[in-house]
């Protein structure tokens, strides 16, 4: 990569992470002010979302889970329509019917956001099958958590995808938490990726707080899937620095562990790295930050001013 494309790529990754952070912090603040219902955030995990999604092509498909704002925003979803869904407004991506944890955007190929943990793993198999049968070169990215990897559906799905040679990139965002219980309490292994071997699949763990490392690992994995048409398990090892849900006082979290991961904040680390390498200037990054703030202000305003869905919507979309 020449200097200019490196700079462009760095800007895009940085902008994406900052946008995710600002969006989620605004949604959380609105909850605290009584202006929005509770929501899940992925604060601390932005590098995973931005790094993987920016490695996908526009015809690739995404299935994801309840902690999905990052995947959607990195994919280019409109923050205004997303915020409107968070507030249950008619202008939301799902007309306000689905709500904050379940935003799907079919026009962007984000075809499922499952809050029944692990549901996305199951459906990704069929999505992969359709892509294969249609002879498309698309890849299906399926995001799920370390908790979802404890569900039986994980095993059934990965085994089948491997058996059928399906082009699925499984992305396990191992954020160390499964609601209010630490990962260490629910599994004896630290990593999910070694499980890939038992399905005859490749598996890799990457530092999920290093956006460039994630992006590079995802590019390699995706290239391999396109070439072999076989599934791949990528584990992004990261940390959920806010609560499971808003509000959440996190009294159950070890403060030292939390502090050590906050010190590795993906956005601050990347900023430091870019400035040290001279890839972009301080002014450049500040401009990105300002733009994002304006975007989020606009998004929140749009969402707040949007109407709630009319009562007639209650009975639409139940059947074709």
């Amino acid at each position: 990569m020449d200097m200019e494309s490196r700079r462009e790529s760095a800007r895009a990754l940085f902008q994406s992470m900052v946008l995710i952070r600002a969006f989620e912090e605004r949604a959380a603040a609105a909850q605290a002010e009584g202006k929005a219902p509770g929501t899940c955030t992925s604060v601390g995990q932005e590098a995973s979302a931005a790094g993987v999604v920016k490695a996908l092509s526009s015809n690739d498909l995404i299935l994801t889970n309840h902690r999905s704002a990052g995947h959607l925003l990195a994919r280019g979803a409109d923050p205004g329509r997303m915020m409107a869904e968070v507030l249950g407004k008619a202008t939301g991506y799902c007309k306000g019917k689905s709500g904050t944890l379940h935003i799907s955007v079919k026009e962007l190929g984000v075809i499922l956001t499952s809050t029944i943990v692990g549901g996305e793993l199951s459906l990704a198999t069929g999505v992969g099958l359709s892509v294969s049968m249609q002879g498309s070169d698309a890849v299906v990215a399926c995001f799920f958590g370390d908790g979802a990897a404890c569900e039986g559906i994980f095993h059934e799905s990965l085994n089948l995808a491997s058996l059928w040679n399906l082009p699925v990139l499984y992305v396990c965002e191992n954020n160390q938490w499964q609601a209010f219980v630490h990962r260490k309490e629910t599994m004896l292994a630290d990593h999910i990726s070694p499980r890939a071997a038992s399905y005859g699949m490749d598996g890799v763990t990457v530092d999920g707080n290093d956006v460039e490392a994630v992006n590079e690992a995802a590019r390699v994995a995706i290239a391999k899937i396109r070439e072999t048409r076989k599934p791949f398990l990528l584990e992004t090892y990261t940390y959920r620095t806010r609560g499971h849900y808003e509000p959440d006082d996190q009294t159950y979290v070890d403060p030292e562990e939390l502090a050590s991961w906050k010190a590795r904040d993906p956005i601050a680390s990347y900023k430091k790295k870019l400035l040290a390498a001279g890839t972009v200037s301080e002014a450049d990054l500040a401009a990105i930050q300002r733009e994002v703030e304006t975007t989020i202000d606009g998004a929140f305003l749009f969402a707040s001013e949007s109407p709630y869905p009319a009562a007639e919507e209650l009975l639409t979309d139940v059947y074709a």
């Binding site: 219902p37 249950g88 407004k89 008619a90 799902c94 007309k95 306000g96 019917k97 689905s98 709500g99 904050t100 944890l101 379940h102 809050t115 029944i116 943990v117 692990g118 908790g147 979802a148 404890c150 569900e151 039986g152 499964q178 609601a179 209010f180 219980v181 309490e185 629910t186 599994m187 159950y252 709630y308 869905p309 009319a310 009562a311 919507e313 209650l314 009975l315 139940v318």
Partner: protein, 332 residues
């Protein structure tokens, strides 16, 4: 800080009632164990199991990974060997993952092998808290339909306690639907003594002469508030809290409808195949000659529980929708 264990004879919420029942039953019977997601160290997503781990230790209070099928399956296996497991679903919406074990194993084990399965699967159901489509459902009818299962749905704090205790002592599998909207809103003095409430026995919450309202869970509170308003119009409704959805207390139901001659079935669950359909059939079979009007249903419409506040409000039955139905029926 662990909140003190609720005390009989003092005021407690619905959650307090549940929590007290667990403490009392675990104290009474060393075979009672509790398992589920976040039930131990954290004390349960809704704090129902708070303090159990400290008191009874990790061999009887088991935190599990996300694995509903394994949770329910482990409960069934342990029950077959004489333990009395109480499995929590963090939300009853996720009981779908345990459906196979409950309907194919727990429900049919006694019939096939003579070995009973004394488990309780409990957790929060119901809407009204902006939970959206996957944290608000009322999936009781999948289980009401299944012979071999018992289904319980308390409406009050005292019943939450008394019915949970009865469910734990029951020799058959009991699916226990709590209502999350009532968790901290329903409160009363929890009775002195053991406070047991038998499974299969309905309660007449308000006596009335004009119309019987058969309901359960959140519906009880809707019916009671409608009753007050209707009383001002001179309409006197009887509110029957079913408490157990299977087996139904036919005696109480039929006695009430024979007296009032008019009946409305009220539930938050959706309409088609809801409990109201079963109750209507029961009345057609066993109270036909006493009825002075059609049996009506006031229920949620046949759709998903919507997220948007405006839609959820339109979705949930409320006192106004019930009052309209009562007026229609009394004018009949």
């Amino acid at each position: 800080m662990i909140h003190p264990v609720p005390v009989p004879g003092h005021e407690g919420t619905y959650v307090d009632g549940l929590r007290l029942a667990l403490f009392e039953e675990m104290e009474r019977d060393p075979n009672v164990i509790v398992l589920g997601e976040d039930v131990g160290v954290y004390g349960g997503a809704f704090r129902v199991t708070e303090g159990l781990l400290t008191r009874f230790g990790p061999s009887r209070v088991l935190d599990t990974p996300l694995a509903e099928e394994a949770i329910v399956g482990a409960a069934v296996g342990a029950a077959i060997r004489g333990l009395r497991p109480v499995a929590e679903m963090q939300f009853m919406d996720f009981i779908s993952r345990g459906f196979d074990i409950l309907t194919n194993f727990a429900a049919r084990n006694r019939y096939r092998t003579g070995i009973g399965v004394p488990i309780v699967v409990r957790g929060p159901s119901g809407g009204g808290v902006h939970g959206g489509p996957f944290h608000s459902q009322n999936p009781e009818m999948y289980f009401v339909h299944t012979p071999g299962l018992k289904v319980v749905a308390p409406a009050t704090a005292a019943d939450a306690r008394g019915l949970l205790k009865a469910a734990i002592r029951d020799d058959d599998p009991v699916i226990f639907f709590e209502h999350k909207f009532l968790y901290r809103r329903a409160k009363e003095v929890l009775p002195e003594g053991d406070g047991l409430v038998p499974i299969g026995k309905a309660a007449v919450r308000r006596e009335g002469t004009d119309v019987t309202v058969l309901t359960y869970g959140s519906g009880v509170w809707i019916a009671l508030s409608a009753a007050e308003r209707l009383a001002k119009e001179g309409i006197d409704i009887e509110v029957v809290d079913l408490r157990t959805l299977r087996p139904l207390d036919e005696e109480t139901i039929l006695a009430s409808v024979r007296r009032t001659s008019k009946c409305i079935c009220l539930h938050e669950d959706t309409r088609t195949g809801g409990l109201g359909a079963e109750l209507s059939a029961l009345l057609a079979e066993k109270a036909f000659e006493f009825l002075d009007g059609p049996v009506l249903r006031v229920t949620a419409p046949d759709t998903s529980v919507p997220f948007a506040p405006s839609l959820e409000e339109a979705f949930l039955p409320n006192a106004n929708t019930l009052i309209r139905a009562v007026r229609k029926l009394t004018a009949y």
